[in-house]
């Protein structure tokens, strides 16, 4: 039987650098395969090539991809996309048409005409599949990151494709939501849909996929049954990825809070408030994790603290002095002191500015650094987030998803903040890079007394790095206290979440 998907010696280059090198693998109908690999190892490039698409600057120099007997490159045959292959991109934030309401996007994704009367029902059903309430009348910018990601998933599932190419489809999801999506995908797989699932989170796909492919530096370094690869990895890359390393002892930091917020009420337009009476404080050198389900208002809280969203009530203090909510009314020092790393790294970087420019601007505006030191500082910053220095002169479009995320983080660090608010900054990172980055943040806490507000849906991450925890449910703070108490190391992740949410 010929496989549904066959990649043979596929080679893609960007400039002179190969980003996918002689990749060969096959995928039978109904088979589920996970692809994993370090950030920047060529996973997204490979996925796009399967769909017959090359990003600007990337060229196809050899090999082929054949799907259902049809070559995707150089020009994808009609019906390949959408009908045969459903796709979920890595960047949900910039995947949705900003001019169409969610309902319209989903109806289009069904690929057929839906009678006017049935439309609302169809949309609601599609959203329900991925665990979302009826958000059909919203525009993409009115959704939280996790909601956007699930909408994209719902759109990919809408047309019953035979192959699903999923590029890190659960990075913005909390465990409950992730479990729902994974369950839905498992159902699909059982029904005979082939899955090609790019992920860093091998734990949660284990129950779905049959095989795992590990990529490193554009090559396939390992390809085997899931149990073999996960439990007995051969390649050093795979070994490396699978030894999740990061463990930092949580400490109890004392002293006055650097940032203290109280009584925050925040709403969008005339909708009901997203946040009600939320307060938090974080001390120098402390890491406060904010945990909560998707769409609960975590990003709203982050944006509010950063001065980008005006709450309707609440007070804010920085180093014991009152801090204005409006970014325009903050002084230069105050702007530098509180930095935000946003949830959507694709939009956070100007598409026409190089990484270097992005990193230099905070140096120019917020730190009085002589120009001669820029180059050195940029190098240091890139190094801190584990990015090679040669990336400095690339545009965001020429970076992988994880690389962009790290550039955004480096840009925030460039301001030498006292408090850094991180909104899901490790979601697109493989375990190795993730623990590197988290370790780096921990070092900064110790060295410079940096305070961190870490927004995450991943209790694992919260448990590893944070000192204290704040749980948001229904727009309110429902639990707060030392991490060790709220997330006892003895419980499994699922248990922890159930536990936390049930108690609130």
């Amino acid at each position: 039987m010929t496989p549904l998907l066959q990649a043979t010696d596929l080679t893609l280059v960007a400039g002179a650098r190969p980003i996918v090198e002689r990749v060969s693998f096959a995928l039978a109908a109904g088979e589920a395969v996970a692809i994993t690999g370090a950030s920047g190892s060529g996973k997204t490039s490979l996925a796009m090539a399967i769909l017959g698409h090359l990003r600007e600057g990337v060229t196809h120099t050899g090999g082929s991809v054949v799907v259902d007997g049809l070559a995707s490159l150089p020009v994808p045959p009609p019906g390949l996309r959408g009908g045969l292959i459903g796709y979920v991109g890595q960047d949900p934030g910039s995947s949705l048409n900003p001019y169409a309401r969610i309902g319209k996007t989903l109806l289009q994704a069904t690929g057929r005409r839906v009678a006017r009367r049935e439309r609302a029902g169809v949309v609601a059903a599609l959203l329900d599949r991925v665990g979302l309430p009826d958000l059909g009348t919203r525009y993409p910018h009115q959704l939280s990151g996790g909601q956007q990601q699930r909408v994209v998933m719902a759109a990919a599932l809408a047309r019953d494709p035979r192959l699903l190419v999923l590029d890190e489809p659960t990075t913005a999801l909390d465990l409950v939501a992730k479990a729902e999506v994974v369950a839905e995908l498992r159902r699909r797989s059982v029904e005979g849909v082939a899955l090609l699932w790019i992920t860093h989170d091998l734990g949660s796909v284990r129950s779905v996929v049959d095989r795992v492919i590990v990529m490193d530096g554009g090559r396939v370094v390992e390809d085997g049954p899931v149990a073999d690869v996960l439990d007995r990895p051969v390649s050093s890359a795979a070994k490396h990825l699978l030894t999740s390393a990061c463990t930092t002892a949580s400490t109890t930091v004392t002293g006055p809070p650097v940032l203290r917020a109280a009584g925050i009420v925040a709403a969008y337009g005339r909708h009901a408030p997203v946040l009600t009476d939320v307060g938090l404080d974080v001390r120098a050198g402390e890491c406060l994790a904010v945990l909560g389900a998707s769409g609960v208002g975590k990003s709203t809280l982050a944006r509010t603290l950063a001065g980008l969203h005006r709450p309707s009530a609440g007070t804010l203090m920085l180093q014991g002095e009152s801090l204005a909510w409006d970014i325009h009314r903050r002084s230069r020092a105050q702007r530098a002191a509180v930095q935000l790393v946003g949830q959507n790294p694709a939009e956070a970087l100007h598409p026409r500015q190089t990484v270097r420019t992005a990193l230099e601007r905070p140096l120019v505006r917020l730190r009085a650094l002589p120009q001669s030191e820029y180059a050195g500082e940029v190098k240091l910053l890139l190094d801190a987030v584990r990015l090679p220095a040669e990336l400095a002169d690339r545009l965001p479009g020429e970076l992988s998803g994880g690389q962009r995320q790290r550039v955004a983080l480096a840009r925030a660090l460039a301001a030498r903040p006292e408090v850094i608010v991180c909104d899901e900054i490790t979601s697109a990172l493989d375990t190795v890079t993730q623990s590197d980055v988290l370790r780096m943040l921990t070092e900064l806490r110790a060295e410079l007394g940096l305070a961190i507000v870490l927004i995450t849906h991943d209790p694992e991450v919260a448990a590893t790095v944070s000192d204290r925890l704040l749980v948001l449910t229904g727009g309110r703070v429902t639990r707060t206290g030392p991490t060790a108490e709220l997330l006892p190391p003895s419980e499994s992740p699922e248990q922890r979440v159930r536990h936390l949410l049930a108690n609130s």
């Binding site: 996309r81 910039s94 949705l96 169409a100 525009y139 005339r270």
Partner: protein
């Protein structure tokens, strides 16, 4: 709680501002026209008038009184619906009534064709960027843009009317009837206005659409198998509309009062030429009335254009920017 509320408040505010602008404008123009070289009386009487007679007539018409006094009187009249009397003694209202309709008709027709055509050509050119269709549309529109409207109009007359005899060369409209009674006389004037406006609108829309087509969500829509038609319809067109609407509305406004040359070439009875002759002969009451009416129309359209930006930009519409 309705969402229309803040928008209504915004509109009300804008209308009040517009009224103030209009009042200020009318005053400035009243004084400004006064400053223009040439004197209404001597330019009307021409070379046969002696300086003494000019002086007498000026006094008779009250033109020697202070500007402020005359402005006050005029404004009082306007508030009572009286736009004054033209220098040859006709009430300005009757003078303008049929012509305004004719001009609006001309501009309206031109816009009715302009909107779909410019959108179609502009988006098509952007979509086929660098291909033959784009080259044809881009260079065609560029060429048209470089030609002044009187050259375009003159060329159309020469070919379609004088040589081929397909259409009337001049828009003869019998006394007492409207141009609509003889639609054939509208074709060439509308076509001339359309071509010039079309070139401009197409270029701007092409550029806007080309920018959108490089956005990541377009790439994603394509990757998820949306047909090109769908991509264009649901993503590209909505993204160019805010800009396109500005161009359409402002072009339309300028066609009402600014179709001077086209009106002249075709002898079309609109207000563009009336405005120019009135300015040149210093027929103050007519200029005043026209500025007032065109100004009011323009400001209304501008408010609409602003609302269009809000209505067509999701972030603004939902963000309560009104």
């Amino acid at each position: 709680m309705t969402t229309a509320h803040p928008v209504l408040r915004h509109v009300a505010g804008r209308l009040v501002t517009s009224l103030c602008l209009l009042a200020g404008l009318s005053f400035l123009v009243f004084v400004g026209v006064e400053l223009l070289p040439g004197d209404p009386v001597s330019s009307r009487l021409g070379p046969t008038a002696t300086p003494e007679r000019i002086a007498t007539i000026r006094a008779e018409l009250g033109l020697d009184r202070p500007v402020l006094t005359r402005y006050g009187e005029w404004l009082g009249g306007v508030l009572h619906g009286d736009l004054g009397t033209s220098s040859i003694g006709q009430p300005v209202t009757t003078l303008l009534s049929s012509r305004i309709g004719n001009s609006a008709l001309l501009a309206g027709l031109a816009i009715a064709f302009l909107v779909p055509l410019s959108l179609g050509f502009g988006v098509l050119a952007a979509w086929r960027r660098g291909r033959t269709a784009d080259r044809v549309i881009s260079s065609g529109s560029l060429l048209l843009v470089s030609l002044p409207e009187f050259v375009v109009a003159g060329f159309l007359v020469l070919v379609l009317a004088v040589t081929l005899r397909l259409l009337p060369a001049v828009s003869l409209v019998p006394a007492g009837s409207s141009p609509l009674a003889r639609p054939s006389v509208l074709v060439l004037p509308v076509l001339s206005l359309l071509l010039v406006g079309l070139a401009y609108a197409t270029r701007v829309i092409r550029a806007a659409a080309a920018t959108t087509l490089r956005a990541p969500y377009i790439e994603f829509l394509r990757l998820s198998g949306r047909s090109e038609a769908e991509v264009i319809r649901t993503a590209v067109v909505p993204s160019v509309l805010p800009v396109a609407v500005q161009v359409w509305l402002l072009t339309g406004v300028s066609m009402v009062g600014g179709a001077v040359l086209v009106e002249k070439v075709f002898g079309y009875p609109g207000i563009g030429e009336l405005l120019v002759t009135s300015v040149q002969t210093g027929d103050l009451p007519v200029v005043q009335a026209l500025v007032l009416i065109l100004g009011a129309a323009t400001l209304t359209v501008l408010v609409l254009a602003d609302l269009a930006i809000i209505a067509l930009t999701p972030r603004l519409r939902t963000g309560g920017a009104a």
